[in-house]
Symmetry: C2
Subunit: 216 residues, 2 copies
DNA sequence: TAGATTGTTAATCGATTAACAATC
DNA sequence: TAGATTGTTAATCGATTAACAATC
């Protein structure tokens, strides 16, 4: 019932990874202390994050690795598969199709669309690129859960509108552009431009030229 | 002097984009109100963010579009170029090399390394893939500012260590793995797996099976 | 001048951290 | 039992929002 922050969900992903590793290493039980160390956070934070969803540990002992991993898997919804349609068959679209982690995570790319005649008909991964004009009909027949926007910025909003109108439940946006969509549709952005600009900021020492001087 | 939050920097990127568009549309002056609307935030937030760096507007009038854009450009450090070395010439590495936004943002990919003999020698974009064993010598000669980790997770930490040891100032990490590096080296992560898991969480309604029931 | 809008201070909100009783 | 570690409540911290005097 309490709203879960995006930071908490991000950390759950981290814990999930760490637990998979620990399990592979043959670890049986882990404390919030050790789990925190592995992912660069604090024990209190680990316990607080988990407490939003239930009690998964045993006082005095810690957490059963396999059990906690299954629970987080369920919490994150990774115990089912999602049908994904990608719009845009450029560099990013192609990289996504070649990315094995995608399907390992339960995401099946079942369709790719583009509007460039040169790209339509090409085969990426296991699917053939179709004309975006066919997207509406395809959606009716194939029930996409998630739409991926991998087009240039100027067309991103129109593509998002189209995906919303055919009923996707979520959009993953790779275009460096703010998308406006109804609150009922989940939206996450993977923005390389923003990461670069963040990095550039971190690398730039001489900011705040307008700051007051020492004697002020 | 006050520490600037990553959220603030992210929003500066958004404002920068919006200003570029407004300028292209011929807009001369813009209020915090209109700027906020375009990027889905609030006028107070816009003014607060900018106030960390100086006073760029005029009371009663708003902000001069071209001027504010230049100022944010300077704040973000986008008025210079960075020398980037990419390690890992797989799907992601290839997508980066094909990504025009990279160089448009001031980031020049001057070298690509891999350890796969099949990939060494291939030409990606304008550069030839070199053996990662040559990275140390190349760094001495070519002075990389930024290292990009685009390898599979198991080698990501070792690659990061190598990049730190040859003196890069920042690392951009695409591997779904927490990297531990010295505080003096800036780190940003672009994590597709995390975005997917976040989306999966948002799509999953039946969480918190361990939550107390109504009568408790 | 009157209306508009900034820059900044104060109030609110939410997330992180600390502390500790419960209990294995 | 004694030591360890959870789950949860309280304290702290930081970021967002609201309010308003300054001023174009």
């Amino acid at each position: 019932m309490p709203r879960i922050s995006e930071s908490t969900v991000r950390r759950l992903s981290h814990y999930y990874r760490a637990l998979a590793e620990v399990e592979a290493e043959g670890g049986d039980v882990i404390s919030s202390q050790r789990l925190a160390e592995r992912e660069g956070t604090t024990p209190a934070q680990v316990r607080k994050d988990l407490s939003h969803f239930g009690s998964f540990g045993r006082r005095g002992l810690g957490y059963n690795v396999a059990h906690l991993r299954r629970e987080i898997r369920r919490i994150l919804g990774l115990d089912r598969r999602w049908r994904v349609a990608v719009v845009g068959a450029g560099h990013i679209g192609a990289a996504l199709l070649g990315y094995r982690g995608f399907s390992a995570q339960g995401f099946d790319v079942v369709a790719v669309f583009d509007n460039d005649p040169q790209r339509i008909g090409q085969v990426l991964g296991a699917v053939q690129v179709r004309d975006v004009a066919e997207l509406r009909a395809a959606a009716a027949a194939e029930a996409f859960d998630i739409g991926v926007v991998a087009t240039p910025p100027p067309t991103a909003q129109a593509v998002a509108d189209l995906l919303v109108s055919v009923g996707v439940s979520a959009i993953l946006n790779f275009a460096p552009r703010k998308l406006f969509i109804p609150a009922r549709v989940a939206l996450r952005n993977v923005d390389l431009t923003m990461a670069l600009e963040n990095l550039s900021f971190a690398l730039t020492p001489a900011r705040g030229s307008r700051r007051r001087r020492a004697q002020d």
